[in-house]
């Protein structure tokens, strides 16, 4: 269980103070899949980065399983069981897909073990395991590898920042299945997904809407879906297919 207690996050931009997260308190309970949605620039990725320890809140506390981790480093949080798939996967030079999966798993693993994680995200493992994690991989491929690293890590709280971005619609079902299977085996852990996709919202236990650094709505999927469907926070694939712009 993760608790955010009255989190504020300000940055200095052009000598002015910019408030990016504006007093957020929320709980991600054990055994639940929570989806955060909301407009671009609302602060979703920032919140995820605060949870992972990449940013430190200006004020407020972050509690993981009763332990205050507010001052804890990224590494220590990862060791305590926080996993984070970036919105923009990082590229390397020379580090291969296998290296990254091995590092994520935190132990010596065989190539075939590493391959199971790649297969889970719909990549034909043999073709990728020796590829370098660099710009020669497509955006969608990088994104899947990013998700595979979080699967390989195995976490008590797994955070995915827009996992669907760059993943083609034909593979989307596969991605949903990845999350559904994580949801099935969730016992003792929790999953936080940042997403605009209606089909991801649909597998949530709870949905949170984040706008201008504040929680503007929160509830069970059943309560939330009716008010979100058709808005920019819940894009259907068909509107993406037809190339329609998101409505703001």
């Amino acid at each position: 269980m993760l608790e955010l207690q009255d989190i504020y996050f300000n940055v200095k931009a052009d000598d002015a103070k910019k408030e990016i997260i504006n007093g957020i308190s929320l709980t991600i309970p054990d055994d639940k899949l929570v989806v955060i949605t909301g407009p671009n620039g609302g602060g979703k990725s920032t919140l995820a980065r605060l949870i992972a320890g990449i940013e430190k809140p200006t004020s407020g506390r972050i509690i993981l399983h009763g332990e205050d981790i507010t001052e804890m480093s990224i590494t220590d949080r990862a060791k305590k069981g926080i996993g984070f798939a970036f919105q923009q996967p990082v590229k390397f030079k020379g580090i291969q897909v296998f290296d990254l999966i091995r590092l994520a798993s935190g132990k010596r693993i065989s190539v075939s073990e590493a391959c199971t994680y790649l297969s889970a995200v719909g990549l034909c493992a043999r073709d990728y395991i020796n590829r370098e994690v660099n710009g020669s991989l497509s955006g969608g491929e990088l994104k899947r590898i990013e998700i595979a690293t979080v699967l390989a890590k195995g976490s008590v709280l797994s955070v995915f920042d827009e996992p669907e971005a760059g993943i083609d619609l034909w593979s989307f079902q596969n991605l949903i299945e990845v999350f559904e299977s994580m949801r099935k085996n969730i016992k003792g852990s929790s999953i936080l997904i940042i997403s605009h996709q209606e089909r991801i919202l649909n597998i949530a236990d709870e949905i949170i809407v984040l706008k201008d650094g504040k929680l503007t709505a929160q509830g069970s999927k059943e309560e939330m879906m009716p008010q979100l469907t058709g808005t920019s926070s819940a894009v259907r694939e068909c509107s993406m297919l037809s190339g329609a712009k998101e409505v703001r």
Partner: protein, 308 residues
Amino acid sequence: MIQIDEIQKRLLKEVADLHQVPEGAYNIRSNGKAIGRASTANIDIIPKENGSGIDIRIKPGTKNESVHIPVVMSQSGLKELVYNDFYIGEGADVVIVAGCGIDNCGPEDSEHDGIHRFYVGRGANVKYVEKHYGSGHGTGKRILNPGTEVYMEEDSSMEMEMVQIKGVDDTNRTTKAELANGARLVVRERLMTHGEQTAISTYLVDLNGDGSSADVVSRSVARDTSYQKFDAKLVGNAACSGHTECDSIIMDKGRILAVPGLEANSVDAALVHEAAIGKIAGDQIIKLMTLGLTEAEAEEQIINGFLK
């Protein structure tokens, strides 16, 4: 047969991946003397008469054979200058593994200056691998100054892999190449310097023949207060293509100077230079930290990958 001590064994393993006497032709030089040598039916290794080095003669058409010529030094204060000349016959296809390991636990400098000249015959293919390695806690420096000259006849190709990752205090490497029609040269250099080490690498490649090409790529890491200079000049004298690249990571108080040099003397010469120097990207470190690595472990992995 060959008597070598543990230090020399370790050096041989580092520079040539050798655990025992290699297959094929070889010449093992230890503390200034050849301690083992073998020729094969197609590859002759002949000591120069004045004792200044060896000639390696590879018969035309020799296929899939290898030559190992490692050098190890474990005696502090030794300085040597060695000439190795390779004559690679037409159409031969061979692997040449050189390398030098110096262990210096004494107060005096140890230095090995190896001059390698390659005469690559028409249509021959050469893969050349050279590793440099230094160890030992003496205050004496470990110095390596390799000079390489490559003369490439028509349609020959040469791939050079040169690695210096650890322990060499001072290196001044010069590589010169001349390419005839259709000749192809590929160079991959990997370098890491630390402490107060300095490494200078200078290339001068003359693309004299139509259809010749050169691709010289250096990846390097400079840590602590070390200094590196990468100076690569390509001269295009014909319808040729050339590319040089220097991709470097700088850490601590390291310093790197990359000097691009392109000279086109023919309107059909296409030459490109790329150079990038910077510290390890912060987001790479952060990503690995979110997988549970410490900052230092993350840096190590990133550098290992970079120099792989």
